[in-house]
Amino acid sequence: MSEFQEKQDGYLNMQLLRFTTAGSVDDGKSTLIGRLLYDSKAIFEDQMEAIERASLIKGEEQVNLALLTDGLRAEREQGITIDVAYRYFATPKRKFIIADTPGHVQYTRNMVTGASTANAALILVDARNGVAEQTLRHSFIASLLQIPHIIICVNKMDLVDYKEEVFEEIRKNYESVSDKFDVRDIRFVPISALKGDNVVDRSENMDWYDGPTLMYLLEHIHIINDRNFKDPRYPVQYVIRPQSDEYHDFRGYAGRVAGGVFHPGDRVAILPSGLTTQIRSIETMNGKLKRVYPPQSIVMTLEDDIDISRGDMIVAENNLPHVSQDITIMFCWLNEKALIPGGKYILRHTTNESRCIVKTVDFKVNVNNLEKNLEDKTVNLNEIGQMTIRAAKPIIYDSYKINRVTGSVILVDEGTNETVCAGMIS
């Protein structure tokens, strides 16, 4: 095997990890992202030169790495981040997608968006200030969106003389409130993004810390089990009927596996009809497969001729999801236009779509102190809470905690066509 081939195979075995970064500019978030990109050589010379030029024009003394992610003219002019920005870098072990979300209070919407597909959340804490209101807010959103791994980066350790007590105090404070959150895996790393301590390279200033660096964590946290391999779920996306001479009778169901493992020969039920059959084959342009699992996109053929269309779900016969017109969701309202009480919306769930009506707002959660408000039934931009919805047709779902794909919905305003609400099914 040639040296190139070996390297190549190594590269082809890389995993993909998606993470969000939460924190305000003051926490050094842009500096941290800049550090990760710079140290992994994902910032190119012409980009660096462009940022240097832009920083100089704006009269800034240091190169402003925030300009890397602030891609829109309005963002650069106002010095703020408006929207989720996606950044990419890779190490020999993993490819990373960063969803960089603005940390201001009014941008809960963006944090929720960035968190929806993330394996991990980096939450920055300023070592001088300790656990702040926004630390809790970010953690709450990460737990609400069921991000499997949270990494609390205690930043600016250089400004507290790299003291172990400061780090331990913050860890203790955080752990005393983190039982309110439903997160599987929480880690703490003392860093200085500016000086580079424990980001990519081990710090020489913190001998007392024997845990991994941030980069080591990002490269090694176990993410395969973040997906559901237990409950076979296959939302039908598109019906494939070639109607060619060669594939005259071919009828396949295109989709992306949302949960569990499927094999040819498995007994399956088609929902909502409830009819049962057997998988005949799993097809791809590269050949037939012996098994499929999330997040593969494939085509499935079945033994029996059953009327199946987009929005139906193929599931294991002995492991059924819920089927109901009534669902309860934890919501985040995403639009300037408030919820209309009793209003009708379009519900989108997997490949399914239905009209729906919001029946009740059960409570809202104050994201700053996590207190429930049972009285106020208005729902405005960036508010989080629980509501009950009735759909015009049965929804085939799992609880969001069990499956992020079959447990998530969005609501679309029928008048403006905008996406107004994100929902996690209880």
Binding site: F4, Q8, Y11, L12, N13, M14, Q15, L16, K41, F44, E45, Q47, A50, A54, G71, L72, R73, A74, D83, A85, Y86, R87, Y88, A90, R94, K95, I97, V112, T113, T117, I224, R227, F229, Q237, Y238, I240, P242, S244, E246, Y247, A254, R256, V261, E283, M285, N286, Y293, P295, Q296, S297, R348, V405, S408, V409, I410, V412, N417, E418, T419, A422
Partner: protein, 301 residues
């Protein structure tokens, strides 16, 4: 559970195929914007995978500036013939002849901006409600803010400050009459991912990507190709060099890389070692700090 591993290229591929199928399912008349460059080539390749063994249920649309590399056009026609694709071509020259577009003048004249006019006219004429584009978020900072499903108003414009939030893998294609969508299945791919994927799947690409000898000249630090419509300044002289394309746009704005890479392995090594971005050689991006954002708002690819 290690047995359920999936490498990053397969995961990106599964995501792109999912999005391409969503387009076919959610829209009535989609089209795939095909430029003959590597990104649109792998997008079309994955569209074939998405619907196999059936044919891709929408046509390719190519906006021809009239300043293309002849190799690109030959490649396009062969690919369409080999795979049975319907390929629709619309010409910037026609927009100019009809008085809808005005040719730029001067040595840096390019039809790059004019393409937008022809593209929007084609979308209107052919009543496309979704156009699949090969844009990637890592290419350029305005593109980093782009959605997979990107809404365009009745004038074809993009409003980056007022985009719909996009969560999980649920895509909202609702629109009013006359509006359309641009959809970017390759959003999460990087240049390296594209090359690795071409290598992994052994996908055919135009020879322009490999080293060849060509008459070139240098302008503002960028190597450009000689062609009948390229005007040289007095100070510029032609030279024969070993070059290859890192991206393929039209000749007026495609910077060439001095390179002897004649295999995919060489190209991957070169991309891994390079310290400038892919679009660093694109004259169209250098016009201003927000050149791409401005063009995109108008309705550019």
């Amino acid at each position: 559970m290690e047995k359920y591993n999936i490498n990053h290229l397969r995961e990106l591929e599964a995501e792109s195929i999912y999005i391409i199928r969503e387009v076919a399912a959610q829209f009535e008349r989609p089209a795939l914007l095909f430029s003959g460059g590597k990104d649109s080539i792998i997008m079309y390749y994955m569209a074939r995978k998405a619907f196999w063994p059936a044919k891709v249920p929408f046509p390719l649309l190519h906006i021809d500036t009239g300043h293309n590399f002849p190799e690109t056009l030959a490649f396009r026609d062969k690919l369409a013939k080999d795979t049975g694709a319907q390929c629709i071509v619309r010409y910037v020259q026609d927009s100019i002849d009809q008085g809808k577009a005005v040719e730029e003048t001067g040595v840096n004249a390019s039809r790059n901006v004019l393409q937008t006019i022809t593209l929007l006219d084609a979308i209107e004429e052919l009543k496309f409600d979704a156009a699949l584009g090969g844009g990637r978020r890592d290419e350029e900072k305005a593109r980093a803010k782009e959605r997979f499903f990107s809404h365009r108003d009745e004038f074809g414009q993009w409003d980056p400050k007022n985009q719909r939030p996009e969560l999980w893998n649920i895509f909202n294609s609702k629109k009013h009459m006359g509006e359309h969508f641009r959809v970017f299945p390759l959003s999460n791919w990087t240049e390296m991912d594209v090359w690795q994927y071409i290598y992994m799947e052994d996908i055919d690409i135009p020879d322009l990507y490999f080293t060849h000898k060509r008459q070139v000249f240098i302008r503002d630090g960028v190597w450009l190709a000689e062609a009948p419509f390229m005007k040289l300044k007095d100070t510029e002289t032609l030279k024969e060099m070993d070059v290859r394309c890192r991206t393929i746009g039209d000749i007026t704005c495609t910077g060439l890389t001095l390179s002897k890479a004649d295999s995919l392995e060489d190209i991957i090594r070169e991309v891994a070692a390079t310290r400038t971005t892919e679009r660093g050689g694109r004259a169209d991006d250098k016009r201003s700090e927000a050149a791409m954002e401005d063009r995109k708002k108008e309705g550019y690819f």
